[in-house]
Amino acid sequence: MSIPVLKFDAVIVGAGGAGLRSAIQLSEAGLKTAVLSKVFPTRSHTVAAQGGVAASLGNSEEDHWTWHMYDTVKGSDWLGDQDAIEFMCKKANEVVVELEHYGMPFDRTDDGKIYQRPFGGHMSNFGEKPVRRSCAAADRTGHAMLHAMYQRNVKANTQFFVEWMALDLIRDEEGHVLGVTAMEMETGQIVIFHARATIFATGGAGRIFYSSTNAFINTGDGLGMAARAGIPLEDMEFWQFHPTGVAGAGVLITEGVRGEGGILRNSSKERFMERYAPNAKDLASRDVVSRAMATEIKEGRGCGVNKDYVLLDITHLDPATIMKRLPGIHEIGLQFAGVDCLKEPLPVVPTCHYQMGGIPTHYSGRVVAPKNGDVNSVVPGFYAGGECACASVHGANRLGTNSLLDLLVFGKSAGDSAVEDLKAGRAHRELPKDVADKTLARISALDNRKGGANVHETRLAMQRTMQDHAGVFRFGDMLKQGVEKILEVEKAARQLEIKDKSMAWNTARTEALEMENLIEVAKATMISAEARKESRGAHVRDDAPDTAEFPNGRNDKEWLKHTLFSPVDNSISYKPVNMQPLTVEAVALKTRSY
């Protein structure tokens, strides 16, 4: 079969913040740049980021990038690479001011500077007191950012391929990346994008969990493609969770609900937080509340048919107070839980929010993988930025407002590196003869398989397995079982069947292809989490508790290292954390406490 080939200097997969930022660098350098996106760019999930973008502008009070760097290293529980963290924090002011020049409507101070507000974990003078570092555009920062960058790309003649799904990475025998195969949803046509530089900016994969704040689009397509092309995934055990999402839906319930007197209860209606945190009770910190909820569920005191959630009860509060102080909560209960929270408690569960791991990259945005004894060997022609990439700046946990900064800095950096490599003479390499065979075989198998697994049921089985076995608080025995279970789900995911065989707008096929990406991420997460026998940042294990020898369960002697999951044989290897910043002294190891 003859497959059309479209030739570009650069192809970028994903049109959220990181993809758009990369594209600006490439198009403004005069390079012919294609951006592929499953949705219109301003429908990307970056829109959901409300908090702001961190930069030590010092507009409201004294601030310095070294303080921001210290906070980020500490937030990462020392798993972040300090060279990459220095690079990001130092670049923050530059990328924020650029964004301002692109037309981003930042909130302003009375004298016209970008207004900055405080955000959790961001401190002045190396952890001394909170600092105002977050730059925002009301509560629509991500949305405003995408609009500004999309317009800039239109001006720079970036070519957008909207409602196209990238399917597989193209690599030649020497491992060079030469582009992607992709499907136009409107026609079902498969096309080869042949490029001198390929940049992944596909976002996270939060949909591997049953309860996730991520929009449905976050199916880890970039990670799936990288894994199928033999590229390892880094630190996939680290996922950030929020304690109270609506069970089954994932929509967040603000912590303000507990602040106003909301009480968490188990299946016996017991106020279980009294046992875990006798003083703070329901107002204990996020991690304590999340762990307590997970323990109640694990020990069989969860609610519902599957005993897989607990209850958030505000029925004892004055309805007028609820409607006045917690606007929106009543509507959320009705819309997403089918519950009138004035009369009945809300079903809640710790909910996945952000993926810290991803495709391993250098801070230049170049993808790196082990080769010939070098754990950080550059994969020629391949770059990544944003949530799909692991630079690694978030390490074991991410600070709020550092995600928008990540996608700006590393989106730009990936773009700059691609420009540099192309201008140095990187040419289009010859496409392998079997360039699209694997993609066509996958599509053909989906179209022709009879008696295969149902996509919806397989996705649900994966999500439940991940939620039950690799959730916010992890148990050794559950992780072991989880590995077996997810490998069983993988077998089903390799045998998906779809009923709709049509070419145009076949959403069943698209969802099946997304599922093939999700399972790669789920498997990497479960196996990486089982293997890491310590607690660090967002990876907290019951069998790695807080002791005098290992505060917070963290064991630097054995586990101060990055996980690399190899999708080729499901094996794990490790590589050192870079503890050497570029120009300043390292942030020395110490116990992480706030």
Partner: protein, 81 residues
């Protein structure tokens, strides 16, 4: 509505920027509500689905109102679904 047009609309509803809209619009479509609508009502739904995510979400949660009575009626139907 022709199959291809419907499937395109469905894709634009089940892959939004905001999870809240993914859930709400998927439920409306997959729950069979859309098929019960008149041609005019279906057109109103398409117009709502074309809106920016926050603008649509504000309508669906009652934070904002819309003058166009066709669209306002459709917002009410979606909220009830």
């Amino acid at each position: 509505m022709e199959r291809a047009n419907y499937e395109r609309l469905r894709w634009r509803c089940i892959r939004r920027a905001l999870l809240e809209l993914d859930i709400t619009l998927t439920r409306f479509l997959d729950g069979g509500e859309f098929e019960k609508l008149s041609d005019d009502q279906q057109q109103a739904f398409v117009e709502l689905a074309d809106m920016e995510d926050y603008d649509l979400w504000d309508l669906l949660t009652g934070k904002a109102e819309i003058d166009d009575s066709r669209l306002a009626h459709m917002v009410a139907l979606i909220r009830k679904s």
